[in-house]
């Protein structure tokens, strides 16, 4: 299935806070799970509202993040967007885990190798 996912960033890691992230990456996979596109985005200010708006505009299906407020989590899931939160570690590793199908909420990627 084709997937389009967004990860808020802090350097090479998943940003600790969804509401404070000033960078994000959008990754697209084709139906075979092969990465098709990678788009980096930079915002002037971190804002949950703006990020949610962007997620809807970009037709994102999955969000991988770390700390996210309940209100925005429920809003995104209500909009049928899958949110995998409290994921800690490098974003590339997170996409790899996701692609392989074993990324779950609360995964800490720093220590344990895939």
């Amino acid at each position: 299935m084709r997937q389009r996912l967004l990860i808020p960033l802090l350097g090479n890691d998943i940003a600790p806070r969804f509401d404070l992230a000033t960078e994000a990456v959008i990754v697209s996979f084709d139906k075979n799970g092969i990465e098709k596109e990678e788009k980096m985005l930079v915002f002037s200010l971190g804002s949950s509202e703006d990020l949610c708006h962007l997620i809807l505009m970009e037709e994102i299906k999955v969000v991988i993040c770390s700390g996210i407020e309940e209100e925005y989590y429920h809003y995104l899931t209500w909009k049928k967007i899958k949110v995998i939160d409290s994921v800690i570690g490098p974003w590339k590793k997170a996409t790899e885990y996701f692609r392989k199908g074993f990324l779950i909420a609360g995964t800490i990627l720093n220590q344990k190798p895939a």
Binding site: E69, Y73, I108
Partner: protein, 467 residues
């Protein structure tokens, strides 16, 4: 297992030691990576200690400052512990206000080997604070009339002094709220705020209530009672309805204001109490002094700072502001979604003179919001006494009742006739008075009224004072 050595006879296990501390604690290495956390930290963040060892603390604590302004980064080898207020998002997706305290850890040679962070959950304090602010802060004493603006400007100054305060004003103008707001903004805010209604207790009980009593000093005194003065030690004692304080107790209060000593009933020992006294009344104290029902010397001691709260009818345009404010509040409280008032209802509400002032306005809105089943307050949702009669009418039972009780009006007698006038009439009179004292000069008139020239011109036209 890390140990604390040389503290007791046998080494102490650090983990169990910090687990016993009720505040969230984390020990970090010099690279800000977590070495150890306690149970309180686990409970606060939602992460377990096993999974997060060796992780950069900012990813676990997820505080606003971890990302933008990490306090640990600013610390040098000789830095004192630092504390900042921030917020975190825990694993349960809750945004929690916190106070983050960080300190450096040194080894025996004095080298920095890491940091310890203590995180205090401020959620409970903040919710109390919010309720408190909603009820008592200056911000909540809303109003944008020049009269209220003057009061808002002076209140913070009064709060910072320790002088006695006398608050006067009609019933429902917010005397108690002002007293509590002053206390909360003062240096005594950590102390208690004790309110005593001098009119609500009989004379013999009031003495015991205020100054306390010694066990066995009278029949029924089965134990020592500290009294309100003692309870308010290091805080503020607010005597509401001071005009109703019996003369005998006025002398005792006077003695206290002189030497700050309280003598409980039946006690031979006095107690030095550090209490700020505030008093409030709706009565005309000067008139009471003339009649001999209030001690002149007590008035002089209480009257160090005098705050007069104007009645609502003298607060220009505040009625509309308060109507909207209370509608919003009651909407939230009663879970309604009333958007506003119909033009007819608004006219009645604005023309009414509110003898009970802000309290009466609040109650009218509460009634209307309760009764209203639509999304707009209509005339039929207002209390019957507002619809049935001319609002300024002498037939209004509420006004008659209030006037019967308030036999000693606060304002000078020359202004007593203004009591039943609406704001429009009052405003016209104010303009005419100002014009008269400015000998018709509009610049001076505008200055006296505290308005701009264009506002004065607009108001002159509105009241048909000029063509």
């Amino acid at each position: 297992m890390p140990l604390i050595e040389n503290l007791t006879e046998h080494p102490i296990a650090l983990e169990s030691f910090i687990d016993g501390v009720p505040m969230a604690l984390a020990v970090l290495d010099h690279n800000r990576k977590i070495i150890l956390i306690n149970r309180a930290y686990e409970a606060l963040t939602g992460f377990s200690k096993k999974e997060i060892t060796g992780i950069f603390c900012g990813h676990i604590l997820r505080s606003r400052h971890c990302i933008k302004n990490c306090p640990v980064l600013k610390m040098g080898a000789n830095s004192e512990p630092a504390g900042i207020e921030s917020d975190i998002i825990n694993k349960d997706r809750q945004l929690i206000p916190i106070r983050l305290n960080v300190a450096i850890i040194k080894n025996q040679a004095g080298q920095v080997v890491g940091h310890i962070e203590a995180v205090e959950n401020l959620k409970e304090f903040r919710s109390l604070d919010t309720q408190f602010r909603q009820a008592f802060t200056f911000e909540h004493l809303i109003g944008h009339s020049p009269q209220m603006e003057k009061i808002f400007k002076i209140l913070p100054v009064i709060a910072q002094s320790d002088s006695s305060v006398l608050i006067t004003g009609e019933t429902g103008t917010g005397k108690d709220m002002v007293a509590e707001a002053i206390h909360q903004s003062s240096n005594r805010s950590k102390g208690t705020f004790i309110k005593v209604n001098c009119g609500a207790l009989p004379e013999n009980l009031l003495e015991s209530e205020l100054f306390g009593h010694q066990k066995g000093s009278f029949t029924g005194a089965i134990e020592n009672k500290p009294g309100r003065f003692r309870l308010a030690h290091n805080g503020t004692l607010y005597l509401t309805e001071i005009g109703d304080l019996p003369l005998v107790l006025q002398v005792k209060l006077l003695t206290f204001l002189d030497d700050q000593m309280i003598h409980p009933v039946g006690s031979t020992k006095g107690f030095q109490a550090n209490v700020r006294i505030m008093a409030g009344t709706h009565r005309n104290i000067e008139l009471m002094v003339k009649k001999g029902t209030f001690r002149k010397d007590l008035l002089f001691r209480l009257n160090v700072v005098r705050i007069y709260l104007p009645p609502l009818r003298e607060r220009e345009n505040d009625t509309r502001l308060l109507l909207d404010h209370f509608l919003h509040k009651k909407n939230t409280k009663l879970n309604k979604s009333i958007s506003g008032f119909s033009a007819e209802a608004l006219k009645i509400l604005l023309d009414y003179i509110y003898p009970g002032n802000v309290r009466e306005l609040r109650n009218i809105i509460e009634y209307a919001v309760n009764v209203c089943q639509t999304n707009r307050i209509e005339v039929e949702h207002l209390p019957a006494f507002m619809i049935g009669a001319d609002p300024a009418s002498q037939n209004n039972p509420q006004i008659q009742m209030l006037e019967a009780v308030d036999d000693q009006p606060e304002r000078p007698s020359s202004r007593a006739a203004e009591k039943n006038q609406t704001w429009a009439v009052m405003e016209k009179k104010m303009i005419l008075d100002a014009l008269s004292s400015a000998h018709g000069k509009r610049n001076k008139t505008a200055e006296i009224l505290g308005w701009g020239r264009s506002t004065l011109w607009r108001k002159l036209k509105k009241h048909n004072i000029v063509e």
